[in-house]
């Protein structure tokens, strides 16, 4: 019989220190969805091509489907669920996705928003073309990307006091 290997994975998820025994075969997507019920982490291809499972690890974006869960040990992980304010209020970038009609089927939305968070937290101002490149690791079939780009650009400008 094959013996399943486990590892204790201690990490911070959305600001909360957590630990669990994790099957070493699990992807970070598996761990976040199955062990922590963070269902915003979506599965669209499971090979790092669509970006639906994107999360922030120590401030950088990763496709969690091709990231082993055990590597998360000691890391600070953020998912879409962590963006809401204490009273359930939307963050500016979430609100921008609502206001700009940047959401359709909603399946790519969590991944896009998390990349937007990395972009916005850099505090830098980017041109529209630079933003296209920074957001190019996500596929969307509904929106033609137009309103997603608008939502990110407008939020960036707002944060920089330029809108």
């Amino acid at each position: 019989m094959h013996e399943v290997q486990y590892k204790l994975v201690r990490c911070t998820i959305n600001g909360r220190a957590v630990e669990k025994m994790i099957d070493v075969r699990a992807s970070l997507t598996d761990m976040l969805r199955n062990d922590y019920s963070l269902n915003s982490v979506k599965k669209g291809c499971e090979v790092g091509e669509c970006g639906a499972c994107n999360v922030l690890i120590d401030g950088e974006c990763f496709n969690s489907c091709i990231y082993l869960a055990i590597w998360a040990d000691g890391k600070n992980i953020r998912t879409l669920e962590g963006l809401l304010g204490p009273n359930g209020e939307l963050s500016d970038i979430q609100q921008a996705f609502v206001d700009e009609a940047a959401v359709q089927c909603g399946f790519c939305t969590p991944g896009f928003i998390m990349t937007a968070v990395e972009i916005l937290e850099s505090g830098k101002e980017y041109t529209r073309d630079e933003l296209r490149k920074l957001l190019s690791g996500h596929l969307c079939r509904c929106t033609g990307y137009e309103n997603i780009l608008n939502a990110v650009e407008k939020t960036m400008k707002k944060r920089l006091g330029k809108a």
């Binding site: 992807s27 790092g48 974006c61 091709i66 082993l68 590597w71 920074l134 190019s136 690791g137 996500h138």
Partner: protein, 293 residues
């Protein structure tokens, strides 16, 4: 959930060597963007893995005393692009790896993985070959330095011996000092793609910017592994900066390369591209060096 038979996490480079010798069937996993995909496809299903992802000592870029640039093998593409040493001395490498996949892939993909998988389309490959990079390998018996051109053996196969891992990529001062380079990735999409043809050219001009003192050209997907184009280089070396030189350089490259026809592109199309890209890459490298093009 991946079909992993067993997974061992290396705590140090020496430990990695030990694990690899203990489990000769094991595959090394660095960032996982190749290994995990092959595992899911079934090619590596049921494999034993030795993870070196946790070896933070293999991350980062430093300048050694003799001016050699040392890139830790686990340094991610995005960190290479953002690194000031790279930006100052081999900016083209930062630009090349900034064309790999998309942002998330550039955060997980490592230069070590990109070289060790022996893939001709690797966006770092042609530029490293063009800069005579040296691969540092560490095994149970210590370090070994291999010029990258020799490191590539054939498609998918590199000179990595049992118990060895790649620990760094080195670029010597004489390889980069005075050179400016340009990389063109030709692909079907502007992001999330692999190169149909990749072309990296760099050049060193005379002080008056009128003469090409040295020119180097390397390709990805023009043969089974990333490769140099010595005939092209010879056609430009010592020649005046001119359209004629650039054209002769680009034409000559065709003698050096041997792309193949696959469903992704025909040999004929890749040859056509190789010439056109060499022309454009050299021109841009000359421009960046202050030459008039």
């Amino acid at each position: 959930m991946y079909d992993i038979k067993a997974l061992y996490e290396a705590k140090s480079v020496a430990h990695a060597s030990e694990l690899l010798l203990q489990h000769p069937e094991a595959k090394i996993i660095a960032g996982g963007s190749d290994v995990l995909i092959q595992m899911r496809e079934g090619k590596l299903a049921g494999a034993t893995l030795v993870s070196i992802y946790g070896l933070d000592e293999l991350r980062g870029i430093t300048m050694e005393e003799d001016g050699t640039i040392r890139i830790g093998s686990l340094t991610s593409f995005s960190h290479i692009t953002k690194n000031p040493i790279i930006q100052q001395h081999v900016n083209v490498l930062g630009e090349a790896v900034d064309m790999v996949g998309g942002p998330q892939i550039r955060n997980i993909g490592t230069i070590g993985g990109n070289t060790c998988n022996g893939v001709t389309s690797a966006d770092s490959g042609s530029t490293l070959v063009a800069y005579d990079a040296i691969v540092e390998l560490t095994g149970a018996e210590g370090k070994r330095l291999v010029p990258i051109r020799e490191f590539y053996i054939k498609a998918g196969k590199v000179d990595l011996r049992p118990g060895e891992i790649e620990t760094a990529i080195l670029i010597k001062k004489e390889s980069y000092e005075g050179y400016k380079g340009h990389y063109i990735k030709y692909a079907m999409r502007n992001a999330m793609d692999i190169a149909t043809c990749g072309c990296s050219a760099n050049v060193k001009l005379s002080e008056d910017k009128k003469t090409i003192l040295d020119a180097r050209l390397a390709y990805g997907v023009a043969g089974p592994v990333p490769m140099r184009a010595p005939s092209a280089e010879a056609a430009a070396k010592g020649k005046p900066v001119s359209e004629e030189t650039v054209n002769a350089f680009a034409k000559a490259a065709l003698a050096d390369i041997n792309p193949r026809t696959s469903w992704r592109a025909t040999k004929e199309f890749r040859l056509h591209l190789a010439e056109e890209l060499a022309r454009r890459a050299l021109k841009e490298a000359i421009r960046q060096s202050g030459g008039d093009m």
